[in-house]
């Protein structure tokens, strides 16, 4: 009875947070003399206006969902895996590398694609594992370690694109030489969306949900995250579980990077992670680390991203407006959570 009441209060505060975020974004638009209603309408049309648009939203949804799935694991273990951007990038680099290695071989293309995914996952795990080892054995906070590894991954991408993997003749910011269409992950006719990548993303969030809800492994991860000292004294090998959390998150991040290469860009481009890792962090915070809510919220974020693409063309507004709204949303949800706690504590 009391529980239900507090749940309602909690929900009310969340609605309030969304409304405040919208008001805040509206205020920002009014400040720069744009028409907010027009902008919102355009975002809506830009994201759900046609089948192509919807499929584009789903294309953005896949890496977001993968990143957020991985982050749920690290957050469960109490870790801030800021390095996820670099882990996505390494996934893309490894997948590209594997495809470049095998594209002239006699292997069937399906197998090459599969090996591309395997390599991408390995790349993400490698980068995440390094952050984990730095944290556990080097005493380097995972936020700093991850941030450092992000810079290294960016530099590595640029070097590859302009160095060893440059296009015949001259390297360019447009990336490496595109792969032969036979090495593309099969797409729906006329659309940029591959059903396979959807399957991977949905499988990822389901696996994470099951892992955290119903397994001993998930329970121990949560114990490490909520009170590492007590978990250690109870006999949970905390270092091993932290490391495994990093590895799992790296696996999902690496898959996200592979999807970007195998299903979206078909080559390595300079900013292959597109900030999906950081957006994934925001999503995980926004849903309060509840796996159930990740899919819809990630879809909403993807829609904002895609919908705002046409803002510069139609309204002469910068497309970063979607970022303002996403950021405001996270901030206000966190603030409202604090307000709610104060409010409920007083009584």
């Amino acid at each position: 009875m009391h529980d239900r009441k507090s749940r309602w209060i909690s929900a009310a505060f969340q609605v309030l947070a969304v409304v405040t975020a919208l008001l805040f974004t509206t205020a920002v638009m009014l400040l720069v003399k744009a028409q907010p209603l027009e902008a919102y309408k355009n975002i809506l049309i830009g994201s759900f206006g046609s089948v192509t648009k919807i499929s584009d939203v789903l294309v953005a949804w896949v890496p977001l969902l993968l990143a957020a799935s991985g982050l749920l694991v690290t957050f469960a273990a109490g870790l801030w895996n800021i390095g996820i951007e670099g882990q996505i990038t390494l996934g893309a680099i490894f997948a590209t590398g594997m495809l470049r290695l095998l594209q002239d071989s006699a292997l069937p293309p399906e197998l090459i694609i599969l090996l591309g995914f395997v390599a991408g996952a390995a790349g993400g795990m490698l980068w995440a594992g390094l952050v984990g080892l730095l944290k556990i054995y080097g005493g380097v906070n995972e936020i700093f370690g991850g941030l450092g590894m992000n810079f290294v991954s960016t530099a590595l991408t640029i070097w590859l694109i302009f160095g060893p993997w440059k296009r015949p003749g001259v390297g360019s910011m447009s990336g490496t030489e595109p792969f032969d269409p036979s090495l593309w992950l099969p797409m729906l006719p006329g659309l940029r969306l591959s059903p396979w990548s959807l399957v991977i993303a949905i499988a990822a969030i389901l696996i994470v949900f099951l892992l955290l809800q119903g397994t001993h492994f998930g329970l121990r991860l949560k114990a490490v995250g909520r009170n590492g000292r007590a978990a250690f004294l109870m006999g949970v090998p905390t270092a091993r579980y932290m490391f495994l959390a990093f590895i799992l998150c790296g696996l999902f991040a690496g898959l996200a990077g592979s999807v970007q290469v195998l299903a979206v860009y078909h080559r390595l481009i300079p900013s292959i992670s597109s900030g999906y890792g950081f957006l994934g962090l925001m999503i995980a915070m926004l849903v309060n680390y509840q796996a159930l809510w990740v899919a819809p919220v990630a879809l909403f974020f993807a829609a904002l991203n895609i919908g705002s693409i046409q803002l510069p063309i139609v309204l002469k507004l910068d497309s970063t407006l979607s970022g303002v709204l996403q950021g405001a949303l996270v901030l206000f949800v966190l603030v409202m959570d604090g307000v709610r706690r104060r409010f409920t504590q007083k009584r």
């Binding site: 119903g214 397994t215 114990a223 909520r226 009170n227 007590a230 949970v236």
Partner: protein, 487 residues
């Protein structure tokens, strides 16, 4: 400065930490405040120095009623407190430490401050290099630095909380001399301690706190037995003693040496028999916690051997100790014992080794219900541990212990529990002893130590007594040893 406390009350939840305390301290005296851990000494001093506010009563400084809102407010009114752990900034220079607390303009007046401090130093014969880094100073020097800082900031009443912990005998003599000079100059000194010897040697007047109440006062010449009686004097009947007589050796500690940033423990030897209970007595911070944690493998001793049965354990990680059959129960339930946010059922799943990858929820709930029933926990399998009361959290901690256990190490098994729960919990523990579990436990409650132990080790400032036979020891003897007498 004359300090007067009138009818001070302070509650922490249901605990009455200060119960109607009235105390007058004339100017120029050294007032001792004596009491066992948790008696309310620190609470009272925190109220006087502005860290916390009293729930009732008033404070008078030089016969004027004052409100002390914060530590900086206290020092403005002339009350400075020297904490048990020095409140300084180790990686900074001495002079910068002094400047930090100084209200001043944008640019610190380094030279003037240095000159003022040097003058104070010569007055007391201190010799601290102002350009040295604080972490290069000894504990005694850091204490002197803190005294200098408080005096320089205008303190006319100085509160010292357990100042003789961790300093050498020479430094202690120096400190006492300083305090006597200060009192001679008209300062009021309040000396909080549990060490009888220190209080007797220094203070012109002593009050004793026990369980939040002011239970007595004394002036020189002191009768140690009376002070001990006031500190620990309570009579509780706990039922009949039960002694274990099994002779087979279970756990062995040989020449154990532990080092800590303030304590050095040397040459501890202990032979524990099957089913035997050994109590560790001593004031908090005397080394018993370090010893217990070394037995659990949490702290690595610098030297010595630990053996359980035929297994050699020293040098191995904590989880190896655990797998060998040693189980550790910490005192801080929510910080080290249980995991906030997880339910009782999830705790049972964490501690039980269950086969399979997926959690069998039915089985988990069944197991938890059994535990709840066996240990009379007021809660359901779905209750989060933080929603339980302290006593029920303690029961849950005990319910989570996996049988079989060869050696159970417990910090304060009954802290925060009422007498009935304590008796009940010990009946459960003794039941385990009959099945062959040996227990080593720490307690601040002398009656608990005397009543439930077969043998007792007393700790004082890192020194460890030979095992005492609990049946032949009295509260007074134990109290004297704990207070550092008769070593």
């Amino acid at each position: 400065m004359k300090v007067e406390l009138r009818n001070i009350h302070k509650f922490f939840g249901r605990v009455h930490a200060n119960d109607d305390i009235t105390l007058t301290i004339p100017q120029g005296t050294i007032q001792g405040i004596l009491g066992e851990n948790g008696a309310g000494k620190s609470t009272l001093m925190k109220i006087l120095s502005g860290f916390i506010q009293a729930d009732g009563g008033e404070i008078l400084l030089d016969d004027k009623v004052v409100k002390i809102a914060s530590p900086s407010d206290a020092i403005r009114q002339g009350v400075g407190m020297l904490h048990q752990d020095p409140l300084d900034f180790p990686p900074m220079r001495v002079i910068d430490n002094l400047l930090i607390g100084h209200a001043g303009g944008l640019f610190p007046a380094r030279k003037q401050v240095a000159a003022a401090i040097q003058k104070l130093q010569s007055q007391f014969g201190f010799n601290i290099d102002l350009d040295a880094f604080v972490d290069s100073l000894t504990v005694g020097e850091r204490q002197q630095l803190e005294i200098l800082r408080l005096l320089w900031m205008g303190a006319r009443t100085l509160i010292l909380d357990e100042p003789t912990t961790g300093i050498s005998a020479i430094q202690k003599a120096k400190l006492f001399e300083t305090l006597r000079i200060l009192a001679g100059q008209g300062m009021t000194v309040i000396f909080v301690s549990h060490k009888l010897e220190d209080v007797e040697g220094l203070c012109g007047q002593v009050v004793v706190l026990s369980r939040g109440k002011l239970v007595g006062q004394a002036s020189p010449p002191y009768v140690t037995d009376n002070l001990v009686q006031m500190m620990f004097g309570k009579v509780v009947t706990l039922g009949e003693r039960q002694n274990m007589t099994a002779e087979d050796l279970r756990f062995q500690v040989r020449d154990l040496a532990i080092e800590d940033y303030r304590l050095q423990i040397r040459n501890v030897n202990l032979d524990l028999r099957r089913g035997e209970v050994v109590g560790l007595a001593g004031m908090e911070g005397s080394g018993q916690l370090q010893f217990l944690r070394a037995c659990a493998g949490i702290i690595r001793p610098v030297h010595g051997a630990i053996q359980l049965g035929a297994k050699t354990l020293h040098g191995q990680p904590y989880h190896a100790f655990q797998n060998a059959g040693i189980k550790y129960v910490p005192a801080s339930r929510m910080e080290e014992g249980l995991i906030p946010g997880l339910t009782l059922s999830e705790h049972f799943m964490l501690t039980e080794e269950r086969p399979g990858f997926f959690i069998d929820r039915e089985e988990a709930a069944g197991l938890t219900r059994q535990g709840i029933q066996d240990f009379y926990i007021k809660g359901t399998p779905a209750s989060t541990v933080e929603s339980l009361s302290g006593g029920n959290q303690q029961r849950a901690l005990l319910a989570l212990l996996r049988s079989p256990i060869d050696l159970l190490l417990m910090e304060h098994p009954s802290r925060g529990l009422d007498i009935e729960s304590t008796i009940w919990i010990w009946s459960k523990l003794k039941e385990r002893c009959r099945q062959g579990t040996s227990i080593i436990f720490i307690s601040a409650d002398l009656d608990e130590v005397l009543h439930y132990s077969d043998r007792i080790l007393v700790f004082f400032n890192g020194k460890v007594s030979l095992p005492l036979d609990a049946a032949a020891t009295t509260v007074d003897q134990l109290g004297q040893l704990i207070g550092g007498k008769g070593w």
